[in-house]
């Protein structure tokens, strides 16, 4: 019997396990499907990690190494090369590994930290032939940074998410020619610093409001056709540009990896595609917590760490103090301008000082107010000079406000 089983040994799982250990849990297991801890950070060899959390600029593997080091000084058990196949409502975790065999372990609490996966060509239905040479940006990153192979020499990138931008620079440094980065929206979904450092510094053109409308090539990609799109995101005939290339990289979004969560019967939020969570990252199944990109896709690993520490601490509290009797639950809803919020549910009686709410906006906004209402009453207002869908926003609601609020809060954006 474990006090806590953490599924996934990436940044979320590592932070959650450390935090649960610090809070006093002693029988903790991390299950990681790869051959080492660190998750996707291991293939992110660029810098820019840790500015918020460590106040210094680290590479992905360096950031991961700090937490791997912390874990190594605890008694947390780690099973590598082991995949979790099933979680039951009784909190039995089925797992299988080459050296660890097939095992069923019982846990008092579970932290889900499985991360996310990339959207593929099929999800966005790009027409054309189906040659080799269409890769997701993350798979390419693995080939280049981990396996040491280059998947192509003339590259077009669809989507301006951060991994796509990072790979534009990486492929260029490896001697490939990156011809264009194409984004269907009128703005990039990546961080501004990545647009500057990965595209502009290398003279790679960014085509906003454009998309790939045809892939050509029998065996390997030979050309892609890029068209401008109108406000309805439909291609405008006559705007086609043809790029001779051998590779198309896709950076068209990330999806939380929640198959285990769904199988277990945990409620999923269709907006985040992650579990619906309370203020302490607990899911609809008592004693099961979710954090990091499996819960909602983050921009910065630093935020993943902070969220996962809260989840780990809450899991420890659950094990040490037992389940609390249910009290009042406030539902958090998204109003105009907001695409989702995390958490979706708040139990104000469980808060000390207050509760952070994370959310994304659905368009670029200039001077704006983030407005929180309860029924018809506005209970809080926050000013921002700039809001963008690519940047996760955060507000903090003090407990006194929540105590006064009704059973539902709405977060919305008002441009001023």
């Amino acid at each position: 019997m474990f006090d806590l089983i953490v599924i996934g040994g990436g940044p979320a799982g590592l932070a959650a396990a450390c935090s649960a250990w610090d809070k006093g849990l002693r029988k903790i297991l991390i299950v990681e499907r790869d051959q080492e801890l660190g998750g996707i950070l291991n293939q992110c060899i660029h810098s820019g990690f840790g500015l918020q959390y460590f106040k210094e600029e680290l590479s992905g593997p360096e950031y991961a190494a700090r937490f791997v080091e912390l874990v190594s000084h605890t008694g947390v058990e780690v099973r590598l090369d082991t995949m979790v196949l099933d979680i039951t409502p009784e909190r039995e975790v089925h797992m299988v590994g080459k050296t660890t065999g097939y095992r069923v372990e019982q846990a008092r609490a579970i932290v889900l930290a499985m991360g996310c996966r990339e959207r593929t060509r099929g999800a966005i239905a790009i027409p054309g032939t189906r040659p080799a040479g269409v890769f997701t940006a993350g798979a390419t990153q693995r080939y280049v940074n981990v396996e040491g192979y280059l998947p192509g020499k003339r590259v077009v990138i669809l989507g301006s998410g951060d991994i796509g931008l990072i790979m534009a620079r990486r492929m260029t440094l490896e001697g490939a020619k990156v011809l264009a980065c194409v984004e269907v929206m009128p703005y990039s979904s990546g961080l501004n610093r990545n647009i500057v450092q990965c595209l502009q510094d290398f003279d790679i053109p960014l085509y906003l409001s454009h998309t790939v409308t045809d892939i050509r090539g029998k065996d390997r990609v030979e050309q892609v056709v890029v068209s401008q799109v109108g406000p309805d995101r439909q291609p405008i005939p006559g705007t086609e540009m043809v790029f001779d290339c051998d590779t198309l990289l896709l950076s068209v979004g990330l999806l939380p990896e929640n198959e285990l969560t769904q199988q277990a019967g945990i409620a999923i939020d269709p907006r985040t595609r992650g579990a619906i969570v309370y203020e302490n990252m607990e899911t609809s199944m008592p004693g099961v917590f979710a954090c990091g990109n499996v819960c909602h896709v983050h921009d910065l690993v630093d935020y993943v760490t902070a969220e996962s520490q809260r989840a780990g601490a809450a899991a420890a509290e659950y094990v040490l103090s037992g389940e609390e009797t249910p009290g009042r639950v406030i539902e958090v809803k998204n109003g105009p301008g907001v695409t989702y919020t995390v958490p979706q549910h708040i139990r104000p009686q469980r808060l000390d000082k207050g509760c952070g709410i994370f959310f994304r906006v659905n368009r670029i906004c200039g001077d704006s107010e983030i407005v929180v209402t309860s029924g018809e009453t506005q209970i809080a207002k926050f000013k921002r000079e700039h809001l963008a869908p690519g940047e996760m926003e955060q507000i903090h609601l003090p407990r006194v406000l929540l105590d006064k609020a009704g059973d539902a809060l709405t977060v919305s954006i008002r441009e001023v």
Partner: protein, 478 residues
């Protein structure tokens, strides 16, 4: 010298090889691609049709009905995913209701059992997601779904186990008759045999013309599809057709044996093996499918693909004929997959009539089993991993495919040579992430097991290279 050479190893070539392997006959199969099932067989609706569509008295009608009956037993013996899900043809107008009557009568004339016309209400009770506008439907309980590429692979593997020779990457370039034998020229040398079977699919007219005067032309017709995530796999329980029209059986919505939802196809004439998809074609398919099942969530799409039907220009029936020991199996469009084992029986009958002696092999081995880790109970999994730890390493997380299963395929009778060949054997890369996660790992296993460098591993057919060389830092495998 062989008794019989089969040109093409799609479902028809494989079924013919399987059928002939039952006898003491030397059989060689020549396939131009680097894997079996690499043409029309891998890209179609994966439906075993009940048999009410073909006109009574046609070869299609006879062989379809017999073929699906044979398929049921074959799939069981050869461990091919198969599910008798039944099918529905929907009628949206009084005219289409009349079409259902015609189809039912046709089916009964063809010997299709259990056909039944259901009212709109009855059919919605069985399939609650069907459109409110459905007035009636023809239900056919004997329609089924299968894994077409595994079906083909299983037949070909069984033929190989029983002594048939399979030559991949062997393209026929010329055929001549010399000294009473057929001499087949290929890119890998010459082969000779007393009999030839032309099962070359979309290329069947070209192969025929190498050996005999021109007689028929194949007019390829492309069909485009959506494959949806397993989250949509239960949108319908049976295969849902619309009334057939001049373009074929129309757009269907169907579960697959792998648990996904398949939607398609349209019909568009193309030149050669053009399997590209188009924005218009996909939009058409979407629109038609939503007419039958308005709630299909296309946001759950995981892949689009297209396949090419090998229609003959001169006839709507199959072309199954023999002359001078040269046998055509051409124009095998739908219901070719359904009819395949019956087509094979028919071809062997043609060979027998042409003088081929058929003596049964006493030791014909007709069995095939493979490990499907995902389908095992926890106890079975535990035992398996203890016996062989390779089954404990999950390579494809979406479909829960283990390294052990991939190694089994690599040691099977027809080992995979490409990433997609692995996919067709064990389902790795078939799931929602479409190989984004397991792709690099499959490349690594293939390179290791085949003794190749990763940059030599192909995605699918030859020429579909994945990696162009090492990075400046060099390979991690040195």
């Amino acid at each position: 010298m062989q008794d019989v050479i089969i040109i093409g190893c799609g479902i028809v070539g494989a079924a013919a090889a399987f059928e002939l392997a039952k006898y003491q006959v030397r059989v060689t199969v020549l396939e131009k691609e680097n894997d079996v099932a690499n043409g029309t067989t891998k890209a179609n609706s994966a439906i075993l049709h009940a048999g009410y569509d073909p006109l009574p008295g046609s070869l299609m009608a006879r062989l379809n009905v017999r073929g699906v009956a044979l398929a049921k037993k074959l799939c069981q013996k050869l461990d091919v995913p198969y599910r008798a899900c039944g099918s529905l043809v929907l009628a949206f107008s009084p005219e289409e209701c009349a079409t259902l009557e015609t189809l039912k009568a046709r089916g009964e004339a063809n010997g299709v059992p259990g056909l039944e016309i259901l009212s709109g209400e009855e059919v919605r009770r069985r399939e609650p997601n069907l459109s409110e506008k459905v007035l009636a439907a023809l239900y056919a309980p004997t329609a089924a779904i299968c894994s077409p590429w595994e079906y083909c692979l299983a037949l070909a593997e069984t033929a190989v186990r029983n002594g048939a020779e399979l030559h991949l990457e062997t393209e026929v370039t010329g055929i001549e008759k010399a000294g009473g034998l057929w001499l087949v020229h290929t890119n890998r040398g010459d082969f000779s045999a007393r009999y030839l079977i032309n099962a070359a699919g979309v290329c069947a007219d070209a192969v025929h013309d190498m050996a005999a005067p021109h007689e028929f032309s194949i007019r390829p017709s492309r069909g485009e599809y959506y494959l949806l995530d397993k989250a949509e796999g239960r949108r319908v329980g049976c295969t849902v057709f619309q009334c057939p029209n001049q373009d074929g059986k129309g757009v269907l919505v169907s579960p697959t044996v792998h648990g996904n939802l398949i939607v398609g196809p349209n019909a568009c004439p193309v030149v050669g093996e053009d399997t590209s998809t188009t924005a218009e074609g996909l939009a058409f398919v979407r629109e038609k499918a939503l007419k039958s099942v308005p709630s299909v969530a296309f946001g759950q799409s995981i892949r689009n693909f297209a396949g090419v039907r090998a229609h003959a220009a001169e006839t709507s029936d199959f072309i199954l004929q023999e002359k001078d020991g040269f046998v055509d199996a051409a124009g095998i469009c739908s219901p070719g997959l359904s009819a395949a084992p019956a087509i094979a029986e028919y071809l062997v009958e043609l060979l027998k009539n042409a003088g081929l002696t058929l003596e049964e092999k006493p030791d014909f081995f007709c069995q095939r089993r493979r490990v499907r880790f995902k389908e095992l109970s926890p106890a079975q999994r535990a035992e398996l991993v203890q016996e062989n730890p390779a089954y404990g390493r999950v390579i494809c997380r979406c479909e829960t495919v283990t390294e052990g299963e991939i190694l089994d395929a690599l040691h099977g009778p027809i080992p995979p040579r490409s990433v997609d060949a692995v996919k067709r054997r064990v389902n790795a890369g078939m799931g929602r992430c479409q190989g984004g996660f397991c792709g690099p790992r499959v490349v690594e296993i293939l390179a290791r097991e085949l003794g190749l460098w990763p940059e030599q591993i192909q995605q699918d057919k030859n020429g579909t290279w994945l990696l162009c060389g090492e990075t400046k830092g060099g390979s991690a495998y040195v």
